[in-house]
């Protein structure tokens, strides 16, 4: 991997990256009108889409539910959307299971409160198949431009991928010993030194388990299980614990969190095999009270402006060419090879396997 070497100067550069990201965000949001006009001339002239824009503006409001809790980018993007269309965005945040039950019960009771839901591909499948709470995906100008691999069978307008990798404490792990791949985690020298998100329950640890079990195999996963991993379910606090020196390795870590830990003795590593990832995107909820505003928002999230914003924060964009000009370290994460993700249809089977292996 190209990225492993380039990651070595991460710690020193994160401040610059953070500042850069902020500046980039502001500039990108500010130039939205220009890029929107330049980016979709063919569709923008489409009379149908113009009608959607007019109707969305008349609706005036958009209610967004998001399962990505606490991300400042949500609010910033919402503000940029308001600036572009004059449509105010009401954002309600809660964890995935809470949001899902809220939407389900609201719809069952005939209270159609929300328009758009920002969630993962796996959750979308459940919304679609089990709860039947989402509408088919509208075709919008930008939806036709996203990479083919992010055009899904489920009705979710892909927005970005969240990559997961390895985090080490640089005070405890010598450069020569640094793990470079997922396979290195199985080395007996790490026994008792790894803090891991719990793979026995839906979450980051399970994502790692699913990907590596499928791609490397059961023997590998069993080897890792014999490492006496310490399990946790609090991702951000676990990063701090590792930084404080409780453990040498924390995995899998959300790679985009790197900038939040600037100044701490930690290093984020992109494994050679690639990063397990979660694909995030928007769904349109059934009987959305502001359907046109919702379509505009779905389109907006796939526009180059928002895609560049996410790329600038390290997330994987679904439009190609969005990482141009990014600092090398951010680019490395944003372009990291996608290793694998979970499959909702196999969740019960794989959770059972994980519980069996990790006891």
């Amino acid at each position: 991997m190209t990225t492993n070497t380039s990651m070595t100067s991460f710690i020193q550069k994160t401040s610059a990256i953070q500042k850069w990201s902020r500046r980039f965000f502001m500039a990108a949001a500010g130039s939205l009108a220009i890029s929107a006009a330049a980016g979709m001339p063919a569709f923008a002239q489409d009379a149908e889409w113009q009608k959607v824009i007019e109707a969305g503006k008349k609706e005036g409001t958009l209610v967004l539910y998001t399962a990505l809790v606490g991300q400042p980018s949500t609010k910033q993007i919402a503000e940029a959307f308001t600036k572009q269309y004059g449509i105010s965005v009401e954002v309600l945040e809660a964890r995935a299971s809470e949001i899902r039950e809220r939407v389900r019960v609201e719809q069952a009771a005939g209270r159609f409160a929300a328009d758009v839901m920002f969630t993962s591909e796996g959750q979308t499948m459940l919304y679609d198949k089990e709860d039947k709470s989402v509408d088919p995906l509208p075709v919008t100008p930008n939806s036709q431009k996203i990479s083919d691999k992010f055009k899904l069978k489920v009705p979710m307008a892909s927005v970005m991928t969240i990559p997961y990798g390895i985090m080490i404490n640089t005070g405890l792990v010598k450069p020569a010993d640094e793990p470079k791949s997922w396979k290195d985690i199985a080395d007996p020298k790490w026994q008792g030194k790894i803090l891991s998100d719990d793979p026995r329950a839906i979450g980051a640890g399970y994502l790692w388990f699913f990907s590596t079990y499928d791609k490397i195999g059961e023997d590998y996963v069993k080897k890792v299980a014999s490492q006496k991993l310490v399990f946790t379910r609090d991702q951000r606090e676990s990063q701090r614990r590792t930084a404080r020196g409780e453990y040498s390795i924390y995995m899998p870590v959300i790679m985009t969190d790197f900038s939040d830990l600037k100044g701490l003795p930690v290093k984020f590593i992109i494994p050679e095999e690639g990063v397990p990832y979660v694909l995030y995107g928007n769904v349109m909820l059934k009987k959305a009270p502001h359907p046109n505003a919702a379509k505009l928002y779905l389109d907006f999230m796939q526009s180059p402006v928002v895609q560049k914003i996410y790329a600038g924060l390290g997330y994987g964009p679904v439009l190609s060419g969005m990482t141009e000009g990014l600092p090398a370290d951010v680019k490395a994460i944003s372009e990291a090879k996608l290793y694998g993700t979970t499959d909702t249809t196999r969740q019960n089977e794989m959770l059972a396997k994980s519980k069996d292996i990790f006891k």
Binding site: E90, R95, V105, A108, R111, R240, A243
Partner: protein, 588 residues
């Protein structure tokens, strides 16, 4: 020496004179029709707040799908919880809860006695300080103790290793002991708050008589003070034990990494970490636990049945304290030690952490005020403060008013249905918060369209009232149990109306308990997340929701700042409250 037994409650209530007066007076004093209507209204209110959401959950436990989805009624949920593994987890949970309740109660009783019944120096200050841990959000104390007592880099262990040269850690927060200790930190101040005014309100003449008859201080404490406190003690035990079964955070933060499983983490997992949330399993398990808890409550009723614990009589009530002589410095030292361990250590960590860029990394170049700036500049935070204050003030007042009425009827009358309302008020306490939150969501969303509660701030308020009522009823029950019927009779004989009697006697004397209950409820509302996260709407975010968002995004330092502000608020509230109580008592 035995407890005095006054006339049985039933005799007194039965023979109480029927008063005239207006309709409201009659409704609660004797007029049977109005009394019936009053009771019905109360039953309706409690039914809506407690039975209705629980009925939705019961439906969830008996139906293959949650409300609103096609499915069938079956007992699969109850079948699925009948596993050997669950039995082990249950035994584990009960063991942990007992292991924290017994020492918590012992220490809390001792502290309450020291503060309320002895001449230990600086009691007023100590009273405020030792209750502080209860008001810190659990994630903050978890964070603080994770730094203080983790086996590798914990401050306590590092000092221990430095001082003794030992290689093994002295304490390990990720263990049974750690889970229990973290729970105790909430339990002790809660129980202390719950009991201290009962100790304070106790007529000291019984203790004085005991001492004059030659009993030692210890015997007097054991045979008089403790026994008189039996209703409060059993209530406290019950509240604490049941909450121990339902506690979630301690097990999540410190139990999970050590492989310790409890019922609540199991329920949490069944809702949040399965491919599809299994509400049938979660609700069935909750009802099974609720059934077990109910047996405990029945045991408490049976134990207290027919006994009287009145210590506040009309005869020369004079709150006074026991003089401990030189021992008062020992009791003082005990309180200070408790304060140091439970407040100075964790809150000191939080305060320190709030001034550095990263919690736990205390170097000069990391000093900053940016977390304070970020919190103060966060408009959502201020909106949440406003919402929480409004909800807290309204919610705590309404909850205490409801609790005072329910407790009055259940303790001081023998109206038909009094046991029913007492039980109804208890119910929310016996259901784990995260499940009850789902119950409120289902209940409010499924209300008929014209009832505009769902999605408004009222949904939160109603949920908070339901969640707080068990504590408010218990607090007021304890207080009413101690008031002699002579006081009411005397007031009535002297021509006071029922309302005057209520205001001048019952309210005046039960006021300290009311104030404590109010503070407990207010801060309960401030911390409540399980129902809030499911019921809040855009614009009605509460402080707990904002804290959760900040925590989820890794802003532990900003969470600390807010936690410290909550501490300040608590201190102000407690000073005002204690000052108020003192002025009331001095006027008696």
């Amino acid at each position: 020496m035995t407890i005095i037994h006054n006339r049985p409650l039933d005799d007194i209530a039965e023979t109480a004179p029927t008063l005239g007066g207006n309709a409201l007076t009659r409704a609660f004093s004797g007029g049977s029709l109005w009394r019936l209507i009053g009771m019905l209204v109360l039953i309706l209110i409690l039914g809506f707040l407690t039975i209705y959401p629980l009925a939705m959950l019961l439906y969830g436990s008996l139906h293959s799908t949650p409300p609103g989805m096609a499915g069938e009624f079956n007992l699969n949920g109850y079948r699925s919880i009948m596993t050997t593994q669950n039995l082990i987890v249950l035994a584990n949970t009960i063991g942990i809860s007992l292991a924290k309740t017994i020492p918590s109660l012992t220490i809390a009783v001792f502290l309450a006695w020291i503060v309320a019944r002895t001449d230990t120096p600086f009691r007023g200050t100590l009273e405020v300080l030792i209750t502080l841990p209860f008001f810190i959000p659990p994630i903050l104390t978890a964070m603080a103790w994770g730094m203080l007592a983790n086996p590798q880099v914990g401050v306590i262990n590092m000092v221990w290793r430095w001082a003794t040269g030992a290689t093994d850690p002295l304490v390990n927060i990720y263990s049974y002991g750690g889970v229990i200790w973290h729970m105790c930190q909430y339990s002790i101040p809660f129980l202390f708050l719950f009991m201290v005014d009962a100790f304070r309100a106790m007529d000291p003449s019984l203790e004085e008589s005991s001492r004059m008859c030659g009993a030692s201080r210890w015997t007097t404490f054991r045979k008089i003070t403790l026994l008189l406190m039996l209703p409060v003690l059993t209530s406290s035990f019950m509240l604490s034990f049941i909450k121990g079964i339902e506690t979630f955070e301690s097990a999540l933060f410190f139990g999970l990494p050590a492989g310790i499983k409890v019922i609540t983490t199991d329920i949490y997992e069944s809702i949040n970490h399965r491919a599809t949330p299994d509400y049938q399993y979660a609700t069935s398990l909750s009802f099974a636990i609720m059934g077990l808890m109910f047996l405990l409550v029945i045991w408490q009723w049976w134990m207290l049945r027919g006994k009287s614990f009145q210590t506040v009589t009309g005869k020369g009530f004079r709150p006074s304290v026991m003089e401990l002589g030189p021992w008062r410095w020992v009791t003082f030292a005990f309180c200070v030690l408790f304060f140091f361990i439970t407040v100075v250590l964790p809150i000191g960590q939080l305060m320190l952490g709030s001034f550095f860029r990263f919690f736990g990394f205390y170097t000069y170049d990391m000093l900053t005020l940016e977390h304070y700036r970020a919190v103060f500049a966060n408009s959502e935070f201020w909106r949440a403060v406003r919402n929480t204050m409004v909800l807290g003030l309204l919610g705590a007042t309404a909850t205490m008013a409801l609790g005072a009425i329910v407790a009055y009827i259940s303790v001081r009358t023998r109206w038909r249905g009094r046991n029913l309302i007492d039980s109804m008020a208890w119910l929310p306490w016996m259901m784990p918060g995260m499940v009850l939150g789902v119950g409120f969501l289902w209940a409010f969303a499924m209300l008929p369209g014209p009832i505009p509660i769902y999605g408004t701030i009222w949904a939160l308020l109603l949920a908070y009232i339901a969640l707080g009522t068990p504590v408010s009823v218990r607090v007021m029950t304890g207080a009413y149990h101690q008031l002699s019927y002579d006081l009411e009779e005397c007031s009535r004989v002297h021509g006071a109306t029922w309302a005057q009697t209520m205001w001048r006697i019952m309210v005046a004397l039960a006021w300290p308990a009311f104030a404590v209950g109010w503070v407990l409820t207010f801060f309960g509302i401030m911390r409540e997340l399980s129902a809030s996260i499911l019921l809040y709407s855009v614009g009605s975010e509460t402080l707990a929701v904002v804290l959760m968002k900040l925590w989820a995004n890794g802003n532990a330092e900003q969470v600390s700042v807010i936690g410290l502000m909550m501490m300040l608020l608590v201190i102000v509230f407690r000073w005002v409250q204690l000052g108020f109580i003192k002025s009331r008592i001095s006027k008696l």
